[in-house]
């Protein structure tokens, strides 16, 4: 027991890799065995995460369950893990969504073994970002997460669809999407890489707590330039990298393709967790390292966030492809996260800032749940109808009432209906940002209006209206496995919507101590 408690974070982090290692040795043809080993294996980190949650002392400041080992001593980087309220929430999200996604992937028949191995490696990558308290280690896990995602999209993504690239050559849509995802994100991380190197050189360490102290204490000139200039450049390097990931408008153009072409579970994880990595980066790194720059540029950030909310909603409304609609909705929802962060950056230390941050973090969690749910449901209908075009559906509710009910429930959560989780987080963001960025917040209400529009459009075209005769007798109801996939998500949506205190408390205390 003691061993588990002492090394809890390492266990959570590497058990997925261990399970992946076990999978390597299983015969490729035993698909059922592989799926179940993967699924049950992924429940272990979830169990440990719940254990972590229970034993987490919410009143205590700073990081808990810290682990500190030698890693790359020659350049002052160590294996340093730890959680606070923020990362704990994210860890819970990740360890919850992974088994759910794996269960959702049971319908994959092609090369199940490599698929599951990649998925589990992806989980380690994501967890590593959340748990890491060393900047270099953070970067390592940040980049590592890209590779499995690339292959998941590239190899198991939607088979239909083509894109034309330079020279008139046609390649598969999933190839295009995965390549764009990889290069875009890596391009963004290039700035992050360079800035990380520079930070390590200047501060003499990569350990985040130390780094925060030393870096903010610097003054004078650096590399022949005033320290303010250097910090501003580094700030934007970090911001661009994270902005691409979140994604913040206008760096979002990789997202619709990646989300649409990815396999269902891939989209679930992509929208559910991967986007949060970017937001987490803002909170964990940008705000503590560059408080002045963040405050200075907060207006610009809030502007971009507002654009994301509005344009994301507009774009979503204009889609005919259901999956693409949900993809753009991620842009829309994540915009709120960034708005909250921007507000907090601008008015650091005030109560409004704390409220905005609460909203942002909770929105991260909530959107993870609801986006994963939405993507899954789109996947469910796609498997039955083999189309994602909204115009092809029509009035399916009588044929698949259970599915319809679940879809409506999830959609309402996504829309922000009071009583469900989405409302709480969006309200908190708006409440916190209003005194700080009134105009932007007001404008984002426009976006909120259209959020409703596109959600309702999606539901209407799919479930309501005259029944499309073509589907009669050709479409099956949602099955037990799929319901089980949705179940924890639905429960959480309701629970947080009705009684958010259990999670808000953790987040709130962490955010209050943030400044």
């Amino acid at each position: 027991m003691n061993f588990i408690a002492n090394n809890l974070l390492t266990l959570i982090l590497f058990i997925p890799t261990l399970v992946a290692g076990v999978l390597v040795f299983l015969p490729s043809q035993e698909k059922k065995l592989i799926r179940w080993v993967a699924f049950l294996g992924s429940l272990i980190p979830l169990a440990l995460a719940i254990f972590l949650w229970i034993n987490f002392n919410r009143g205590q400041a700073g990081f808990q369950f810290e682990e500190h080992f030698v890693w790359y001593a020659a350049i002052n980087s160590t294996y340093h893990l730890g959680v606070d309220g923020l990362s704990l929430t994210m860890v819970l999200l990740t360890t919850l969504l992974t088994p759910v996604s794996i269960l959702a992937s049971y319908s994959i028949e092609d090369r199940v073994k490599p698929y599951m191995i990649l998925f589990l490696l992806l989980e380690t990558g994501m967890l590593g970002v959340f748990l890491s308290l060393d900047l270099l280690l953070f970067f390592v896990f940040w980049e590592i997460g890209l590779v499995p995602m690339y292959f998941l999209i590239n190899q198991w993504g939607s088979e239909k669809g083509e894109r034309e690239i330079w020279g008139g050559r046609k390649i598969q849509a999933r190839t295009y999407a995965s390549f764009k995802f990889m290069i875009y994100t890596m391009g963004g991380s290039l700035g992050l890489l360079l800035a990380t190197q520079m930070l390590g050189v200047v501060a003499g360490t990569f350990d985040m707590p130390l780094l925060f102290e030393r870096w903010t204490a610097l003054s004078g000139a650096l590399f022949g330039l005033p320290i303010g200039t250097v910090k501003a450049i580094a700030f934007w390097a970090f911001v661009v990298a994270f902005a691409i990931k979140v994604p913040v408008w206008p760096f979002h153009t990789w997202l619709p393709d990646a989300h649409t072409e990815a396999p269902t579970a891939g989209s679930m994880i992509l929208a559910g967790v991967l986007l949060k990595l970017g937001a987490y980066g803002f909170l964990r790194l940008v705000l503590p390292l560059y408080p002045e720059e963040a405050r200075f540029y907060a207006g610009a950030l809030a502007f971009l966030a507002t654009m994301a909310i509005i344009f994301g909603a507009f774009a979503s409304y204009g889609q005919d492809d259901f999956k693409r609609l949900v993809a753009y909705s991620s842009v829309n929802h994540m915009g709120f996260v960034v708005l909250g962060i921007a507000a907090a950056a601008f008015a650091a230390g005030t109560e409004d800032a704390v409220i905005a941050l609460n909203g942002a973090v909770l929105q991260m969690f909530n959107h993870g749940i609801s986006a994963a749910g939405m993507f899954f449901l789109v996947g469910v209908i796609y498997e039955r109808t083999h189309t994602r075009d909204l115009n092809d559906f029509g009035g399916l509710f009588p044929l698949i009432p259970v599915y319809g009910g679940i879809l409506m429930f999830t959609a309402m959560a996504s829309l922000g209906l009071p009583g469900l989780n989405g409302f709480i987080s969006e309200f908190l963001v708006v409440r916190g940002a209003w005194p700080i960025f009134t105009v932007y917040t007001a404008l984002s209400m426009l976006g909120l209006l259209f959020t409703g529009a596109y959600i309702l459009k999606g539901i209407k075209k799919t479930l309501h209206g005259p029944l499309n005769e073509a589907w009669m007798g050709r479409i099956s109801e949602i099955n037990l496995r799929e319901i089980i996939v949705m179940a924890p998500l639905l429960v959480l949506m309701l629970w947080i919507g009705v009684w958010p205190a259990w999670i808000l408390d953790v987040i709130n205390r962490a955010m209050a101590m943030f400044f």
């Binding site: 030698v70 890693w71 790359y72 001593a73 020659a74 350049i75 270099l136 970067f139 390592v140 896990f141 940040w142 980049e143 590592i144 590779v147 690339y150 590239n154 190899q155 190839t175 390549f179 990889m182 290069i183 890596m186 391009g187 290039l190 890489l193 360079l194 190197q197 520079m198 390590g200 050189v201 200047v202 590399f223």
Partner: protein, 490 residues
Amino acid sequence: MQFPILSIIVFTPITAAVLLQLIPSERMTEIRVTALAAAFFAMFLSAWVYFSYDAGAGGYQFVEKYDWLPVLGISYHVGVDGISAPLVLLTGVVMFTGVLISWGIDDRPREFFTFLFILATGVFGVFVALDLFGLFFFYEIAVFPMYLLIAIWGWKVTREYAAMKLTLYLFIGSVIALVGGLAMYFASGLNTFDMLALENANFSREFQIFWFPFVFFGFAVLGGIFPFHNWSPDGHVAAPTAVSMFHAGVLMKLGAFAALRVGIMLLPEGAQFHLPWIILLALVNVVYGAYIAMVQTDFKYVIGFSSVSHMGLVMIGFATLTREGFIGAGVQMFSHGIMTALFFAVVGMVYDRAHTREIPELGGFARAMPLVAVAFIIGGLVSMGMPGFSGFIAEFPIFMGLWNYRPWIAIVAAISIVITASYIIRIIGSVFFGDMPEQFVGHIGDVTALDKVALVVLCVIMVSVGVYPSVMVPIVESGVNGVLALLGGV
């Protein structure tokens, strides 16, 4: 004197070469097995030396010294420090995997392994040499077998041209460096070729500034420094697989290593004077090499040019003259060596089956040889500097060293990372995924068990160093401390 393990490592290959000559040439299996046994033995001993090296104590260990020609101060003096110990290990690994990959050679395998082993002895000898004469002696031994190996067993289209170009280029470099070495010998007034003594020789500043370019470039030609890199891509492509593995994996490191040992360590003031502009040449290597790699259509040429690019990073690391830069360069020599050996092994496996290396003509090979595809992907990730693998562990400190030196060079060099990523992804997609062209369907078999063993060994090493850098970095660091001490005195 302790157990002469380094001498055994150095002379095992050539002894095996002599023994191989005694086996009749029709007995292919015996020849191959003997070669493999010798290679395994050498690898085992080199791993022993590596893991027994005491990083805390530092300095030269496993030292042996015997008189060779005392009247001229020539001695057989060998030892490893933190920088050469990983390289000795690298040579052992590449030798072993190279023999595994060459199992299928059926045209005079006896001569093939004989020449390969002579090459290996030369390489081992240079890495452990602590006497300047001995270094040149073994350095040239490592050059001439390349000609025979490439000209006889290489790719028919360009082998004669490439072999001659490579041999002449390398030989020119080494003899020019030799003259520099002789100049050092006489100018020191110490009447010794012993490098440890020459480290303290206190050559005059003018002497160092004059002779440093000769010595540095003479050796760096083998490291592939721009503009003397031209032999490398043709040489890589024309060579048979195991020779390419050796060539890119080990031989190019020989050049960089000798440039460090003889150039930087013995002529530190000359180094400090000249390296600022040399770093620009290395920068050209890095960026231009990556760009050229990107536009190639022949699979092997891509890898060849990528070697030029990665070796540029090694030389940049040296040229910064910083602790981080040297550490990164030291790790990069090892990491890139393993990675490129893997790349060439994979190229060889693809070519043996498809008989073409043109990327547009290939495709879908992952289904035919899944392990190979995974191995290549891992190698590709190392090449891109993806964290979690040894390439990142190597490249990151080099960039840190650049930040300490000239930040703008770091930013320019970082462009190569993106270029590398793009061509690596392109190759992986074009060669291994997508649809297999008509003519190959049903004709591409999987690779042999021996090939798989070789690939797994190489992958494990790259991942291990990437995940747990402490398995290599402390040793390199102790070697770097020694280098910095010599530079610090300036």
